[in-house]
C-alpha cells in the first residue's frame, strides 16, 4: 500500500469533516423547513390576528424563498451567528450555552457507566477467572435492555422515587443523588448491547489460533490475555459503539423529558413541537457535530486498539 504524506491525510480528514458538517446543515435545514406547519401560527396561537402573524413572518423572514433563507442561514452560520429562537425570542447561542453543560455531563457520565458495565466488569471477571459472573452480568443487563429508555425511565422513577423513596423525584443538578437514575436509564440499553458483543468476542478470541500458538510457545497466561485476546476483542464493541453513538443523542430527548432536566434534548423537543426552525436547525448542527466528533474519536480509538487495522503490522 502506497503511503500518503501526513499533511495530506490531515487535510483529507479536515475536508471530510467540513463536508460532513455542511451535509448535516443542509439536510437538517431542508427537513426542518419542509415539515408541515406554519411556525408563526404555532408560536402565536389561534387567537392572534392575521396582521400580527404577517408581521411576525416578516420579522423572521419566513416569507422569502427557501433558497434565500438557506443562503442567509449559511452566511450567518459561517460568521458564527446562530440568530434568535422564534418562540423564546432569545439568542440561540445563549440558549445552547445555558443548556449544553448539563447534557454533556449526562452523556459523559452515562458513557462512563456504560463502558464500565459492558467492558470494565467483563475484563475484571476475566482476570479473576470467573466466567460464571460474566454470564450472570450478561443476563442481568439483557433483562434491563428489553425495555426502551423511555419505558425504563418511567418505571424507574415510579419504583425508586415513588415507592421506595431512595432518590429524589425532582431533578437538581447540584445533588449527586439526582444523577443516578437518569445516568442509569440512559446507559443501560447500550451497555447491554455492548456487553453482549464484547462477551462473545472474548469467548471467540480466547480459542483463536494465535492464542493457541502463543500458549504453545509458553507465553504467560496474562500476556496472552492482554495482547492476544483483549486487544482483538475490543474492536467489536468499539465498532458497535460508533454506530450506536446516535442512540445517546436521541436518548437524552426522552431522559431529559422524563426527569425534567434542563438540557439540549428538552430544548430540541420544544423546538420540534413549535416548529421553531430558527432554533431547530442550529440544534441539529450542534448534535450532528457532537456525534461526528465522537465517531471520529472512536474510529481512531478503534484503529489503535485493533492490531489488525494497524498498517505497520501488515
Amino acid at each position: 500500500m502506497r503511503r500518503s504524506s501526513p499533511t495530506l491525510v490531515i487535510l483529507q480528514r479536515v475536508g471530510f469533516f467540513v463536508l460532513t458538517l455542511w451535509t448535516i446543515l443542509t439536510i437538517s435545514f431542508l427537513c426542518v423547513y419542509t415539515l408541515p406547519g406554519d411556525p408563526a401560527r404555532l408560536i402565536l396561537g389561534q387567537r392572534a390576528s392575521t396582521q400580527t402573524v404577517q408581521a411576525f413572518r416578516l420579522a423572521a423572514r419566513l416569507d422569502s424563498p427557501l433558497a434565500i433563507q438557506y443562503g442567509n442561514f449559511l452566511v450567518r452560520t459561517l460568521r458564527g451567528d446562530f440568530g434568535e429562537s422564534l418562540a423564546q425570542r432569545r439568542p440561540v447561542a445563549a440558549l445552547v450555552r445555558e443548556r449544553a453543560g448539563t447534557t454533556v455531563l449526562l452523556v459523559a457520565l452515562s458513557f462512563a457507566l456504560m463502558a464500565f458495565l459492558s467492558v470494565g466488569l467483563p475484563i475484571l471477571f476475566a482476570i479473576v477467572g470467573s466466567p460464571w459472573w460474566t454470564r450472570a452480568l450478561d443476563r442481568v443487563l439483557t433483562l434491563f435492555a428489553v425495555a426502551p429508555s423511555y419505558v425504563l425511565g418511567v418505571v424507574a422513577v415510579g419504583l425508586f422515587s415513588g415507592i421506595l423513596g431512595w432518590v429524589p423525584a425532582v431533578f437538581d443538578a447540584t445533588r449527586p443523588g439526582c444523577w443516578v437514575l437518569p445516568v442509569f436509564v440512559l446507559s443501560i440499553y447500550p451497555a447491554a448491547l455492548l456487553a453482549r458483543v464484547f462477551h462473545r468476542a472474548l469467548e471467540r478470541n480466547s480459542h483463536s489460533l494465535s492464542v493457541q500458538r502463543a500458549r504453545a510457545l509458553g507465553f504467560p497466561n496474562s500476556d496472552v490475555f492482554w495482547n492476544e485476546v483483549l486487544r482483538v476483542s475490543l474492536s467489536a464493541p468499539l465498532a458497535t459503539l460508533v454506530q450506536g453513538i446516535a442512540f445517546f443523542v436521541t436518548g437524552t430527548f426522552f431522559v431529559e423529558s422524563v426527569f425534567g432536566i434542563a438540557g439540549l434534548g428538552g430544548l430540541a423537543y420544544e423546538a420540534v413541537r413549535n416548529k421553531d426552525v430558527a432554533l431547530l436547525v442550529p440544534l441539529c448542527l450542534v448534535f450532528g457535530t457532537a456525534v461526528s466528533i465522537l465517531s471520529v474519536g472512536l474510529d481512531i480509538g478503534l484503529r489503535l486498539a485493533d492490531p489488525r487495522s494497524r498498517s505497520q503490522h501488515a
Binding site: T52, S161, N274
Partner: protein
Amino acid sequence: MTILLSNRRLFLVCLVLLSVGCSRNTQPPSTGPQLSLMYNTEEQATEKTVTAQVIQSQLKEKGISVTLEPVTNAVFYDRIAKADYQAALALWYVDYDDPEGFLTDFYSKAGFRMAKYSNPTYDDLYERGLFAKTEKEKLQRFHEATALVDRQLPWIPLYSNSELFVLRKGTEGFVSNAYQYYDYRGVQKSDLRVATDVEVQSLDPALAYDLASKHIVTQSYEGLIALAPDGQLVPMLATDWRIVRDGNQIDFHLRAGVHFQGKWNHALTASDVKSSFERMLRVNSPYAYIFDQVEGVPAFKEKKAKEVSGFVASAPGVFSIRLSRPFPTMMEWLLAPAAYIVPRETSDKFDFTKESVGTGPFVLKSWDGVQARFDANGNYWAQAQQSHPLPRTLSLRVMKDVNTQFAAFRQGELDILNIPLALFNEFLEADGSVRPSSEYSYREVKLNNLKFITFNMQKAPYGRDEALRRRVSESLNRSAMVKQLFKGRAREATSIVPPEMFRTNR
C-alpha cells in the same frame, strides 16, 4: 403496582382493549357517512386519546362509524389552517372572563377560524355585541350569537373540566380562578414548591400566551385590574376606573406607593403603563389585537406614528384609554398577561429570563429552562393588606411526566399538585369522591374552558349538513363521558360558551 397502572400507556392499552371488548357485543349496521376525527397527541395526550376513543365507541353504538386520526401538534394546526380535515377534537380556553373569547372563531373576519364558519347574521350579532354601549347589551347580543351557533353546530360542545388540586398542609391559602391564574400570595408555608406540566415558551409578559408562561409571569408582574375567584373585576395596579365620554374613554386611577422590582426600582406612573402597552404592540405579541379599538393603534402598527395617541398619561397617577368607538370588552381584555405593566425603561429585547422587573409579589432569582426560583418581594405594595407574610421562596418547575409529579408529591418535594387525569385513580374513589388524608386537602376549581368537536364547515358531508351534525351531537352521551373520564369532575357542555360567563352582576 398502582404506579404501573397509572402509567398512561398501560392505561390507554387497557382502555382500548376494554372499548374493543365492549363494542363486540353490540354492533348495529353503520348508517351515516364515515366520520374522520383528528386530534393532537402533543397536547393533553391522555385526555385527547381517551376522549376520542369514547366518542368512537359511543357513536358506533348509534351506527356512526368514526375513524381516528392522531397527529402531531404541527400537523394538527397545519391541517386546520389549510381546511384539510373533516372533524377535529379540540380544546379552547380563554384568558379573560368574556363570552367573546369563545365566539371569535365563528366571526368571518377573525384570524384563524378552526370551523371556517361563515354567516352574515352571526357576524352582525357578534359586532353588535362587541361594540355595544353597555355591558348588559353586550351580553344580550353575545347570547343571541351563541344560540345561533349552538343551533347550527359548527362545534359540538362536549364538556368543561375542573382542576383538582391536592394541597399539603400550610398551602390552603392558594387561590386560583376559572381561567387558570394561580395566586400564591396567601400561602402560609414559607418555602413553596409547585409544578406545571407543559413547557414554558417565554417569560416576557407581552409574549406569555401558553399556560406555563402565564403561570410564571403572573408571579412577578401585575395588570391594572384582576379577576377575583367569584368572577368580579377587582382593582390591582389601578384603584378604580370610570367609563366616560359615552363609553369612548376609560380613566384609570393608579395605586400610589407601588414600586417596580429590580434595577429600575422607581414608583409606578402612567407613563409606565403607556410604554408597556406600546411595547406589547411593537414586539408582535399574540395579544396585539386587544388594542385594535384604541385610537391611534392602526397608525402605530403601520409604523406611521411613534406613539399611540389613545394611550394618555395625563397625570402621573391617571392613565386613560381613548377608544375609537364604545367597546365594553376592553375591560376584560385588560386581564390578559400581555397587558401587564413593566417599567418604561424595558427595551423590546429585554431578557426576562435573567431577572424580573414587575410590581408582583415574587422576584425571579433564576430560570434554567425547567425551573423558576423566586424570592418574596420585600417591597410588595399589598403586603400591608395581608394577614401574614408572603412565602419566603417559590419554586416553579416544569414536570411533564405524570409519574414524576406523583413521585415528587409523595416524597414531599411538591406542595401543591394539580392532579393530572392519569393520576385520578391515586386520589379519587371510583365514584369520584376524594380519598381523605391527614396530610393534605383537596380543592376543585371549575374551569370555563371547552372541549369540543369542530367540523370543517367547508367540507361535505358533515360540514354541509346540519342534520348530520345534530345526529352526532344527539348520539353522544356526555354524562357517561364525564363519569368515565373524569369520575364526574367535569361539567357536561350543551353550549359553546360556559353559562357562567353570562353573569350580569358586574
